[in-house]
């Protein structure tokens, strides 16, 4: 009896969403005619569905669009400030160039102090003999 009641309820709920087969429809119609309880449930479910479907009840606060756009503008600004991969790469090369220049300047100074141990060509063009000569400097 409970199983039968359960399957009728399943049919009732399905009937709101899809067209039942003729046999199922007839069965549900009979059950509704026989049971005031089931008829009441059908009415209540229809009321509930109508209540839920009045979906215009939901909205965000006034000026929601402006809030979203402000947030979007801020995000775009942040993206502009964050350097791209190419920009980051070129900044690394710039740093390397500064370091290279600094090393060259240091070598020139050492050269001047030690009295022409290295030729200017060796310092600026980094010939093979440069490394050998560097290794023979007093501080290595």
């Amino acid at each position: 009896m409970i199983i039968k009641k359960k399957s009728i309820r399943t049919l009732l709920y399905r009937s709101f969403e899809e067209k039942l087969k003729p046999k199922e429809e007839a069965r549900l119609r009979r059950a509704l005619a026989d049971s005031p309880e089931l008829r009441a449930e059908k009415e209540e479910i229809l009321r509930l569905r109508h209540f839920l479907e009045e979906r215009d009840k939901f909205s965000f606060s006034p000026h929601f669009d402006e809030k979203v756009l402000t947030k979007w503008r801020q995000e775009k600004e942040c993206l502009k400030k964050t350097p791209s991969f190419e920009e980051q790469l070129s900044s690394i090369f710039v740093k390397l160039a500064y370091i290279g220049t600094a090393v060259a300047v240091v070598l020139v100074i050492i050269n001047v102090i030690l009295g022409d141990v290295l030729s200017s060509e060796e310092i600026f063009f980094a010939s093979d003999s440069l490394y050998e000569t560097l290794l023979h400097l007093p501080f290595f």
């Binding site: 399905r14 209540e44 009321r47 509930l48 009840k57 939901f58 909205s59 929601f64 809030k67």
Partner: protein, 188 residues
């Protein structure tokens, strides 16, 4: 279905303008779909302060993905998916922080029967009643009734078999009938 107030051609044009960076196109997208996003987010999270933040994030995520959005689905469906995902993430975060609203929702329902003003607020009534459903039941109600999708569309959005959606809908309606019907008489 909610949110579909422009045809496909107008939607394509709007998307094109948005991709070009036209701010008015962005605004129009927000205004066209905010009620539908509100229904999804508030249906899932309740009528809480975080709902609006999540709602804003839904549109921001959509704008971020504009270049990837190829128009296989309508904007409304795409936004609903984002809204559902973000709402589920928010629910997980709440669960983690042990800030489940169940007790709060129960308290609110009691309070709403005491206060005529709040009982008249259908939006709160629905949102809080939905909080008493498990998220898997809640999401089918939100999509089917609050967003107005058909059961087939709901099944597609949730990537579930149609039978599962139908069965969850039935169970969710049985539960909502118990919670909401005694209070609905007081709603205007």
């Amino acid at each position: 279905m909610a949110g579909r107030t422009i045809d496909l051609e107008q939607e394509k044009e709007l998307l094109h303008r948005a991709r070009e960076g036209d701010e008015e196109a962005f605004r129009k997208i927000v205004n066209l779909h905010q009620r539908q996003v509100a229904a999804t987010v508030m249906g899932m999270l309740g009528n809480c302060p975080e709902a609006e933040d999540v709602g804003q994030e839904v549109f921001i995520q959509f704008f971020r993905s504009l270049d990837r959005f190829r128009g296989e689905s309508r904007i409304a469906t795409y936004l609903t998916r984002i809204a559902l995902n973000l709402a589920v993430n928010e629910l997980r975060r709440r669960k983690k922080e042990k800030q489940l609203l169940a007790a709060g929702a129960e308290g609110w329902l009691k309070a709403s029967t005491d206060s005529r003003e709040e009982a008249n607020d259908a939006r709160r009534l629905i949102a809080q009643a939905l909080q008493q459903l498990e998220p898997r039941f809640r999401e089918v109600i939100v999509l089917r009734f609050l967003n107005g999708y058909s059961t087939e569309e709901t099944a597609r959005i949730l990537k579930l078999p149609l039978g599962t959606v139908l069965s969850r809908l039935s169970r969710a309606q049985m539960k909502l009938r118990e919670i909401l019907l005694p209070l609905m008489g007081q709603e205007k």
